[in-house]
Symmetry: C2
Subunit: 307 residues, 2 copies
């Protein structure tokens, strides 16, 4: 382990603390988050968690992916549809059909003929952004400078691009792990039945062109490490290459004892401010030249599993 | 294929061309590159190509990764060492030991005890950047605005951060697929024997903190789709999880008939300018709202295989 010696550094820090000496270096982002007070963490409601079980991997290990649905008022028609599709168990028996390197893994009905449940909301281009004025006061934290959007902020832990800090349009941005709604050429065609997760460098050109409905908060490796498809856009060539989806459920539909529990670090907290500053100015011993900046997708919101 | 309908769009464009009608949309980046004149492509010298063969995958398919070494005057001591290590066949029998999701895949000697060949150059923190004045005139093309560096440019196809356009320090940047030199806490410790490839969102905080010696130009999926390691930093827990490296050779050491041939799109060409503009302002039919910008890591340099 000659590179990126975080374990060694953590051990050194722990040893220094134990011996009463000052730590040999400023706290790393990980260390800052590790000592966040309980009040800086926000529980994620079971109705905002999508639990996705796919067929076991080559070695037989189970594969579960957990997705957090995006906070209101973003992407409301699609989030409603995703909840309805999950309640209808619509994805059970569908599959992951497309894995394109440095881009997305995508799932849904490969036949494109499975009937959708009734009552899905119609969505349109209008719904790709919201009005900043509709956001709750005190839940919006200024984000870093950006080359794509005039302004950025975090809202209830979600990375957002915006026309300005206090007014104008605002839209979630395509960072690693974000989950979006596949659509046809018409911007009004995506229902939420076809979803993808970002598994590469942030494809920010998709912002405001596709709806984002959530993010993977556990098990992204079960998507990002899948074999890449060899057809155009990374679609699998043969049906047997597809990865079967056993079931997708809202956590709120699971028995209480089986519901996974997660919380996120409040982006309005003092810990978040320290974490973001440390990400932009790495002072841990490995770094000889802090960057002085972090783009919005290099500020992943810490998530912890409670059980 | 209900999303990202590129094949359909290409078919429409081809049909429109065949019928003599104007194409129904402006050219996409892919279409622009497809019609680049031969003079816009630059052959990559066999001495700048590293051919890495790893053990076959679970399905028995061969796995080859090709790396282009970075252009002079960047990272000279490490590039010299990489060539020397390849000539000594030093990597044969070593392994990929670390795969960390959204970060890096790393290879080298897991025992950390394999003797290095003699004559490796010493490198130091000084070598992480070069002086812009040392660059060849006419080979530097202005790059996009950046949140990490005061300026960016492309030099002979390499993405570079810099203090300014014409003077001051310049350094290659950590985009997807870039290959860097693992090191210990001391910035003077990396020889080039331990290498990693970026397999996630650009970890730009590593710029100027670690040497970059090249980029993967073919077969990145054989690294990015590997199972993630479960120890800290993504190191594999058990020796049998490591992926054996059969051999790494400079292409120039292979028989001429076996040397792969690649070329890159000249970043000084008119095609590059059109490509970069189209990446920043996607006008193909799928997009309803062009971004108006592309960060330097969303401008991957087109590479084509000649044989």
């Amino acid at each position: 382990m000659t590179a990126f010696l975080l374990p060694l550094l953590l051990a050194q820090a722990a040893a220094a603390q134990a011996s009463g000496r000052a730590a040999p270096h400023p706290q790393s982002p990980t260390e800052i988050v590790a000592v966040a007070p309980a009040t800086d963490w926000v529980a994620i409601a079971p109705d905002d968690l999508l639990v996705m079980d796919v067929a076991p991997g080559p070695a037989g290990a189970s594969r579960r992916i957990v997705i957090q649905l995006i906070a209101a008022p973003f992407a409301r028609p699609w989030v409603a549809n995703v909840r309805r599709l999950a309640a209808a168990h619509w994805w059970d028996g569908t599959s992951i059909n497309r894995v394109q390197d440095n881009y997305v893994a995508q799932w849904g009905d490969a036949t494109e003929k499975k009937p959708l449940p009734s009552g899905l909301a119609a969505a349109s281009e209008r719904d790709y952004a919201i009005d900043t004025a509709a956001l709750a006061a005190g839940e919006r934290t200024v984000g870093p400078a950006d080359v794509y959007a005039p302004a950025t902020f975090f809202y209830r832990s979600w990375p957002v691009g915006a026309e300005g800090q206090g007014q104008g349009a605002a839209w979630p941005v395509h960072c690693y792990g974000m989950v979006g709604v596949g659509r046809d050429v018409s911007p009004n065609t995506g229902t939420g039945a076809e979803l993808y997760a970002v598994i590469g460098h942030a494809p920010r050109h998709l912002d405001r062109n596709i709806a984002l409905v959530g993010r993977v908060i556990e098990g992204i490796e079960h998507l990002s490490s899948l074999p890449r498809g060899t057809l155009g856009l990374g679609f699998y060539d043969r049906a047997e290459q597809r990865v079967a989806i056993v079931r997708i459920r809202l956590a709120s539909e699971l028995p209480t004892s089986e519901q996974p529990r997660f919380s996120y670090l409040s982006t309005s907290s003092a810990t978040w401010a320290r974490y973001a500053a440390a990400r932009a100015n790495r002072q841990d011993a490995f770094f000889i030249r802090p960057a002085g900046a972090a783009d919005i997708c290099n500020l992943p919101v810490p998530i912890r599993r409670l059980r």
